[in-house]
């Protein structure tokens, strides 16, 4: 429950933490001259597990670092919590936190049909910040005994059950409920407490649902997620998941009962906070956003397209703990295609295995850095591919198709199309720690292949989750910090859709720079060029694509835009979409080198030593 101790306009200091699975990160904000700014960060190992088993110890340690760096006392002298509100000398006016410690929120979801109600339940759980362990449906291709075995082996924090429209299928929904009940799923944390279940299915059978499940589970019934087939209403289910997360899951995690008393705002799962931050960008710019949290263990992708917000989590795609799973899923060949030098396959795979078993190590030499950047491209590519399977149009509805779309064989299921994306935003250790910002801009460009004109941002210091949860109670402060200190403007990518042959003209770009100078750039197929345009500067551009290329207005049609500068500047990308690398090894390496050099991606001398 939210209980602010001071009106927001009187606040001067705010503390936000994220209790991560390995590190607890504190961020300290202060209002100066009417504007909220990020002051310092403090970090300490998370203390969720034995021998500590109390997350508040890690929070105190992280906050103590903030105290040491600022000289501002925040913790109460008797270590019983945070001093709230600020009393003129010590304390903060607001304390809030997100958490993913102990594995975050792990859920199982079920529905009647995999591509319909089960898919909606999946989206609702993901949107609430959960890791979805499995999706059970009548048509999931498994035998009953296999489903039962699977449910018995999972130990979820919570189950979300959808199924049937209101007044629609009943018996089949009850069949699934009977199956779940028979499997006797047990909660992950704590022996002997009731596993929470959210029922968001056909409302007509609620009495039967209660009869079946209320005795053995902590049952919560909410509005149907698909009351009719053409509407998906995930909000009531998402809210119930958050409430149960606080009441049942968090209260069983070590130290959380204490932490819940310290905070002024409900504790939120970290990805939910990150998702709100991405929505904040979309809401402020009134544009479509595709965001990513590329972590050590997981990759979260968020999209805001029109009114729709969708999150996907690829639980085992990441840059340290899961780095070898990226290799497994992408294939070593797909990782090695981004390397402009020769390395033995066994050598690359051993390096990645060694990174996975010692996940906190960092690349000291350029060769290692380029290998990690190659893995990042593949993790991002797979993360987006996964996201597109979740960000889909609602199935089960009759779609009117005109003659043109009849010829379009596979009507695209996803609505996340790069030409419609106006902003790309990234966060996570690899992107934030890239020695040159242009590296993260280029990695995102290679992996996601933005089309048209796309602004690119990244998190400066990991604080999107903090600002996400803060924005739920104090949007202005959150956006102040977000805009001033969190969002690094990487720049803008200009890339027409289409393909051609090397040497063929792709686009003409006429730029009117902030000082009035007019610059004209002609790009041929396969070229990429970087134009310096600093952060918080803008340029007017007229982009005229060649006959077979499209900037979003149709083939060959010019577009006029005001483009945003950034630390990476403007990226004029004439490599075509989709980007394809030559099959022949030498040609591939040569082309990669050409791109790397055009952007001054890596230090030239070190790069030459690697060839």
């Amino acid at each position: 429950m939210t209980t602010l101790r001071k009106p927001t306009e009187e606040m001067q200091y705010i503390l936000a933490t994220d209790v991560g699975s390995t590190t607890t990160k504190a961020r300290f904000f202060h209002r100066k001259d009417g504007e909220w700014r990020f002051l310092v960060a403090g970090e300490a190992p998370t203390t969720v597990e034995a021998p500590y088993e109390d997350v508040t110890m890690g929070v105190q340690n992280a906050v103590r670092e903030v105290e040491e760096l600022t000289g501002h006392r925040i913790l109460s002298p008797d270590r019983s919590g945070i001093v709230v509100p600020y009393d003129g000398e010590s304390g903060v006016d607001l304390y809030c936190t997100t958490s993913s410690a102990g594995g975050g929120l792990q859920m199982m979801v079920s529905g009647l049909i995999l591509s319909m109600t089960a898919e909606s339940a999946n989206r609702a759980a993901l949107g609430a910040g959960a890791i979805v362990m499995d999706v059970i449906a009548l048509d999931d291709g498994r035998q009953i005994y296999q489903k039962i075995q699977r449910i018995r082996s999972l130990r979820p924090d919570m189950i979300l059950i959808a199924g049937g429209t209101d007044g629609g299928a009943a018996a089949h929904v009850i069949e699934i409920l009977e199956l779940i009940k028979a499997a006797e799923p047990k909660p992950r944390l704590g022996i002997g407490y009731q596993l929470p279940i959210v029922y968001a299915g056909n409302k007509v059978i609620r009495p039967q649902v209660e009869k079946l499940l209320s005795e053995e589970f902590a049952l919560s019934i909410v509005d149907n997620i698909r009351a009719t087939l053409d509407v998906e209403n995930t909000e009531p289910a998402r809210r119930a998941v958050h409430e149960l997360f606080m009441e049942h899951v968090m209260s069983h995690a070590p130290g959380y009962t204490k932490l819940m008393k310290w905070t002024d705002v409900d504790i939120m799962p970290t990805p939910a906070g990150e998702g709100i931050a991405i929505q904040l960008i979309a809401d402020t710019y009134k544009e479509n956003v595709l965001g990513v949290g590329l972590g050590g263990a997981t990759t979260n992708v968020y999209s805001v397209v029109g009114e729709r917000f969708v999150r996907s989590v690829s639980a085992n795609l990441g840059m340290s703990y899961s780095v070898t799973n990226v290799m497994k899923e992408a294939g070593i060949g797909n990782i090695m295609r981004w390397l402009p030098f020769d390395l033995d396959e066994e050598d690359v795979s051993s390096r990645l295995m060694n990174k996975m078993i010692r996940p906190t190590t960092i690349p000291q030499i350029l060769e290692d850095l380029i290998v990690e950047h190659s893995v990042a491209r593949e993790a991002l590519r797979l993360g987006l591919a996964h996201h597109r399977t979740i960000a889909t149009r609602l199935k089960g509805i009759q779609v009117e198709r005109d003659i043109a779309s009849m010829f379009d064989q596979a009507m695209e299921e996803t609505y996340v199309k790069m030409m419609d994306i106006d902003i790309i935003a990234g966060t996570g250790g690899l992107l934030s720690h890239a020695p040159r910002r242009i590296q993260s801009m280029f990695i995102l460009t290679d992996a996601w292949q933005p089309e048209g004109v796309t602004k690119m941002f990244q998190d400066s210091v990991f604080m999107m989750p903090h600002l996400g949860v803060l924005s739920t109670v104090y949007r202005e402060a959150a956006w102040n910090v977000f805009d001033n200190d969190c969002l690094v403007r990487l720049g803008t990518c200009i890339a027409p859709f289409g393909s051609g042959k090397p040497g063929e003209a792709v686009m003409n770009v006429e730029l009117t720079m902030p000082d009035g100078e007019v610059v004209e750039e002609e790009l041929d197929f396969g070229e990429i060029r970087r134009i310096n345009l600093s952060e918080r500067q803008e340029a007017e551009v007229v982009i005229t694509p060649a006959r077979h290329f499209d900037m979003g207005e149709g083939p060959g049609r010019s577009v006029n835009r005001t483009v945003m500068g950034g630390v990476g500047g403007l990226l004029l990308d004439a490599r075509g979409r989709p980007i394809s690398l030559p099959k022949e090894d030498e040609a591939r390496k040569e082309l990669l080198l050409k791109w790397f050099r055009a952007l001054e991606l890596y230090p030239e001398r070190k790069l030459r030593e690697l060839m």
Binding site: A50, N325, D347, T361, I365, D368
Partner: protein, 385 residues
């Protein structure tokens, strides 16, 4: 049934990823042996136990079996209760009829038999399903290490304590096992090849040097070696051996007929001399080993526990608590000095730029040949003494 997941109390640092794996000649090792659900503890406080002693027991409810009875009978779900021969709570045997339907003066007869021995748990007049519950499944938890019961967790399990050498590996596959230690190679840099695995190695914990070859692994499985402890393994070999590429490091469940404990990493890697010498000094002793690895929050590393009577040394604990200081022995764990051992010279406070252009906290390390190198602090691990 074998032992389930183990939890370490004093012996591992489970709270966060901590570089620096334990290689201790003598320490008190505690193992919590916990049931997956509540049950009965079979030993008493102060009891001496062997590794195979069953310390706690419980029963997991049997597997359910869903029988679509009304459909099989060809009747409406709501009519199912009329045709049931059994009620909720009744015991049934495999093949015994659950329900029976006849029509047209017996011309049409249909019966539904129980597919398992079990109990009727529910009969649904909405779905027409009968749910049967199979016989409970017993779960036993053994002691895993020989020692003394120092704590009884009522209905949950026990804590066993022993004095032992305790060595952590970096990565493992296969679960808990036991065996007598035998050194298969003469030096930590020697490869464990097929010819070094002998028929009399059945049931042993076999120690190799820098790497185990695929052929040696296969032969060890054929012979029945309990565990192989080695410096490194090739990624390709491990993939072929386990039959699947390891994606995330949550291991221990593989059924490959052997436990493999890798001490240093992937590729050919000379085993730390200290670890090798320690294992050699206990050749012929019995060891309890576990390949379970979890490299996430709640990190678990594979382990070798060698119970013995030597007294615990205290000094090293204090030294470790001090963290890294000039003189601390460390191993570098990433290129370009991967595997090299040295001593910390100093720890500059300021961030420094390394070759990759990353600005990081570094330390200077004097290698054994006197050369001083600068490496990111994240890229070394403390060698515990």
């Amino acid at each position: 049934m074998g032992a389930m997941k183990t939890e370490n109390k004093k012996s591992t640092e489970a709270h966060a990823y901590t570089p620096g794996l334990k290689v201790k000649r003598a320490m008190t090792v505690d193992k919590t042996r916990r049931l997956p659900i509540l049950g009965e503890v079979l030993v008493n406080l102060g009891d001496n136990v062997e590794h195979e002693t069953i310390t706690a027991r419980t029963e997991i409810s049997g597997n359910p079996e869903i029988v679509k009875t009304s459909m099989l009978l060809g009747v409406e779900p709501e009519d199912l209760p009329l045709y049931m021969l059994k009620e909720v709570g009744d015991n049934v045997e495999e093949g015994e009829n659950l329900a029976y339907y006849s029509a047209f003066f017996g011309l049409i007869k249909k019966a539904v038999a129980s597919p398992i021995d079990g109990t009727i748990e529910s009969i649904s007049d909405v779905t027409g399903q009968v749910i049967l519950r199979g016989k409970p499944i017993p779960v036993d938890i053994d002691s895993y290490i020989p020692g003394k019961i120092v704590e009884v967790l009522p209905r949950e399990g026990v804590v066993v304590e022993t004095n032992a050498a305790f060595i952590q590996g970096i990565f493992g596959i296969g679960g808990e096992s036991q065996g007598r230690i035998r050194m298969a190679v003469g030096s930590p840099s020697e490869e464990l090849t097929k010819d070094l695995v002998r028929p009399e190695d059945k049931g042993t914990v076999l120690v190799g040097g820098s790497m185990v070859t695929m052929e040696a692994l296969k032969k060890a499985v054929d012979i029945g070696v309990s565990c192989i402890v080695v410096g490194g393994v090739r990624h390709g070999d491990l993939t072929s051996f386990t039959g699947e590429e390891i994606g995330v490091a949550i291991t221990g469940h593989e059924e490959v007929g052997i436990t493999l404990i890798v001490m240093e990493g992937f590729g050919k890697m000379t085993m730390s001399k200290r670890t090798f010498d320690l294992l050699r000094s206990f050749e012929g002793y019995n060891a309890s080993v576990n390949g379970v690895t979890q490299i996430r929050a709640g990190v678990l590393r594979p382990e070798i526990i060698i119970p013995h009577e030597e007294v615990e040394a205290q000094a090293s604990e204090e030294k470790l608590a001090a963290g890294m200081v000039p003189g601390t022995p460390v191993r570098i764990i990433r290129q370009p000095y991967f595997g090299i051992i040295g001593n910390v010279v100093n720890l500059p406070v300021e961030l420094q730029q390394v070759d990759s252009e990353s600005r990081v906290r570094v330390l200077n390390v004097e290698l054994n040949d006197g050369i001083i190198v600068t490496v990111p602090r994240a890229n070394v691990e403390i060698i515990e003494e």
